[in-house]
């Protein structure tokens, strides 16, 4: 059985794991690193439940090989909490009832954070297109968009230009 040893940084921590060459980063994160917040909804890049960032870029971890994480920086939903405090997006998802079942939530949070990192003041349309790679079947997206708008506003207020 052939395999690879991967040395990578996940949510700021140095991590090493071994896996078969063909294993996806999604499977490795879930089954080898124990980051079960990364969800699988399709395995084909169509639902966004497995969204993570790789060197700051938003990707579907089901479409990335675990071996590709070698030497790079991975952020998952577990990495959003900073200094024991929820990220404003996390706070706003709760206070705006932007989740019903919550299975899509980790992916939406990672995708929304990636948007706000790039564009702190997105329009509604920009939010909708930035999140179009993430499926939510429960909410009709209404409260998700509102939560992102509200988080963006709070974050702008907290960080004077």
């Amino acid at each position: 059985m052939s395999g690879v040893l991967v040395t990578t940084t996940i949510n700021g921590d140095a991590v090493q794991f071994a896996c078969p060459e063909e294993e996806t980063l999604l499977d490795a994160l879930r089954d080898r690193v124990g980051l079960l917040g990364v969800k699988e909804g399709c395995g084909t890049g169509d639902c966004g439940a497995c969204s993570i960032t790789l060197d700051g870029r938003l990707v579907c971890s089901c479409l990335v090989l675990a071996a590709e994480a070698e030497g790079r920086e991975v952020t998952t939903v577990e990495g959003l909490v900073e200094g024991g405090k929820l990220h404003p997006l996390q706070e706003n998802f709760i206070s705006h009832a932007a989740l019903q079942c919550g299975i899509c939530t980790p992916g939406f949070l990672v995708a929304a954070k990636s948007l706000l990192d790039r564009n702190p003041d997105p329009t509604e349309t920009e939010i909708r297109y930035a999140l179009a790679g993430n499926l939510c079947r429960c909410t009709g997206y209404d409260k998700i968009v509102r939560a992102v708008q509200s988080a963006a506003k709070e974050m702008r207020a907290a960080k004077p230009a």
């Binding site: 078969p20 499977d27 980051l35 079960l36 917040g37 990364v38 969800k39 699988e40 909804g41 399709c42 395995g43 084909t44 169509d46 639902c47 439940a49 998952t76 939903v77 577990e78 959003l80 909490v81 929820l86 996390q90 998802f93 709760i94 206070s95 705006h96 009832a97 989740l99 019903q100 079942c101 919550g102 299975i103 899509c104 939530t105 980790p106 949070l109 349309t125 939010i127 909708r128 297109y129 999140l131 179009a132 790679g133 993430n134 499926l135 939510c136 079947r137 429960c138 909410t139 009709g140 997206y141 209404d142 409260k143 998700i144 968009v145 509102r146």
Partner: protein
Amino acid sequence: MKHDNSYTGQDFKVIGTRVKRPDGIDKVTGRARYGADASLPGQLVGRILRSPHAHARIKSIDISKAEALQGVKAVVTADDMPVPQGLPGDLAHMLENSMARGRALYDGHAVAAVAAIDAKTARKALQLIEVDYEPLPHVTDVDAAMQPDAPVIHDWIYTSGVDPKPEKPSNVVQRTEFGLGDIDAGFAEADVVVERSYKTEATHQGYIEPHACLANIRPDGSGELWVTTQGPFVYRNVCAQMLGMDIAKLKVTSSEIGGGFGGKTHVWGEPVALALSRKANRPVKLVMTRDEVFRASGPTSSTSMDIKLGATRDGKLVAARAEMRYGNGAFPGIWGMLSCMTSFACYEIANCKAIGYDVVLNRPKVAAYRAPSAPMAAFGVESAMDELAAAISMDPVEFRLKNASREGGQSHYGPVWGPIGIRATLEAVRDHPHMKAPLGPNQGRGMACGFWFNIGGQTCSDLNVGIDGTVTLTVGTVDVGGSRASLGLIAAEELGIAYEQVSVNIGDTGSLGHNDMTEGSRGTFSSGMAAIFAARNTIEVLRERAAKMWGIPVEDVTWEAGQAVAKGSAHGNLKPLTLKDIAAKSPKTGGPIAGHNEVVADGAGVSFASHICDIEVDPETGATKVLRYTVVQDAGKAIHPDYVEGQFQGGAAQGIGWALNEEYIYGKDGRLQNPGFLDYRMPVCSDLPFIDTKILEIPNPGHPYGVRGVGETSIVPPLAAIGNALSNAVGVRMHHVPMSPPRILKALREAEREAC
């Protein structure tokens, strides 16, 4: 103790506030554990081999090579899942649906399964299983399946509900009929009659979390199942019976559930996972792929309908007839029957007849999907209503208002209406600013109504008071969309304490008596009722304890705003005792303080909705964009308005997807051609506008707080609302759902040709 469930009209302190849900933090940090997120020592990976044929005899299955593969610990086929003696018919069907028995009945039907040390080995093992199929003629279209020359799928189906009883088997399971009056006389009275045929394609519930479970059967025959389900107690009963186990020996724990919408009321791979675990004598985790979810777990019916409505010139609906043919997939269901019961519920029609046919097809077994069967019937009826209104030059809202069902009226399917909200939702629509907003070219506005029964059912809950005065409410209904928050509010309201003092716990099958599924919009309605009664039961105990502490008769103790108060001038100097005071002394006054309730939650109030939508059609591509959407629905009483709105919005979005894009596409070979999210296109964020909501509160007399179920009705109106908007936008009337770009383009071209 028997409690009174009638509406009391009390003033609320915390009910109706928008508190934070208790499970929110776990769900935004990735800590919440769903179906695929559990493990046990020594667990194996389960995988299922599925039929590539729509219909085939299984001549033989050779599992020897797969069994010999290193790392494979068990291979099962139907031989390992014998039908236990006395298994009820519907469970036998579910069992055969879980694992084919001699015949594969649809593309995706399970034929064998393996458990191996890892996913790679399991996948390899599946390839080593040799199945010798003899393809048989198949049928996937509901109209074709009813033809006399159609291949008969089951030789044991003789249509019920027809006279004389048929002599030959067919694909028609049953004919059902509901109605009132004399439709021939009714149509004779009509000045204008609209008669149309409609078709709707099958859709999938589309929950983002695939079916997943972790089964663990021990050598002594006892076991446990961790599973994403809408009903752990029902799964326990069903699985235990299917596998010939004692019900008490199987403990089922529901994981957090990543969406269900009806699709997780039914077992699919769970009995297979249990059978694998039993054979391997190891825990087995079985997670479906998305392809499997589409091909082998419950979609809706595909339908074909004929609707005929008649009205007088002054706008009175005098007659209605509907004949609705509903595909059931490979096993009998009641979907056509449900369509009959919902079809005409919005209106008072003296003469009406709804006829439903349930038809088996070589498709996956149909499961409930949010207000099951109602959206399709409403598409037909509400489209025809608009055409009829136009034919008598009446405003469609006024026409509906004039004929809306009313309190005291006789429904066509049985009950006499209590206080109902159809009229109020229509009035709210009529007066809504949305109705007056300007529209541009190729834009149109449509509206439609919808109905759903809602159900109550068996429910059981416990309320325990900790020694510090905090409260744990345990319920047996799964939280599919925020019900923990609503139930916490209810317990807080009853006890007169803060919401933050209450924790809500979803019990497993070992911790409570039986609870029916979270389905039929019953979660908050029925567990809410059980929570109210359990809390009232607790208050009795609290009063007794306070009386004991004070040494006065319990009759002199009342419970007010979270504390025991001694009544009467003799006790004037007694300081009220808080929940905390009483709890702290509980070890000395009689032990733990708890309240319980077991109830069949009768009195579920029906729910009506009216939706408005604006759309724009691109005449070049036939693509439709939803510009604005408003949902008006009667909630009875909104316990937590955020989650009520969420139900309205989510249902509307699913209905929009159904109306415009989603469909099961079968090839001539009877195989599903689009089993993935790329080709089965559900609405994404950029497809939708904000979905405005208006909650009406017409109390349900059968619930102490007036609650009605709110989860389902919202998916009923969108199909017709969008069809009506389309007709107003571009002048073509669509009779086939989804109204996808190619279908709209075709209709536009035909209309152009006719105009030349």
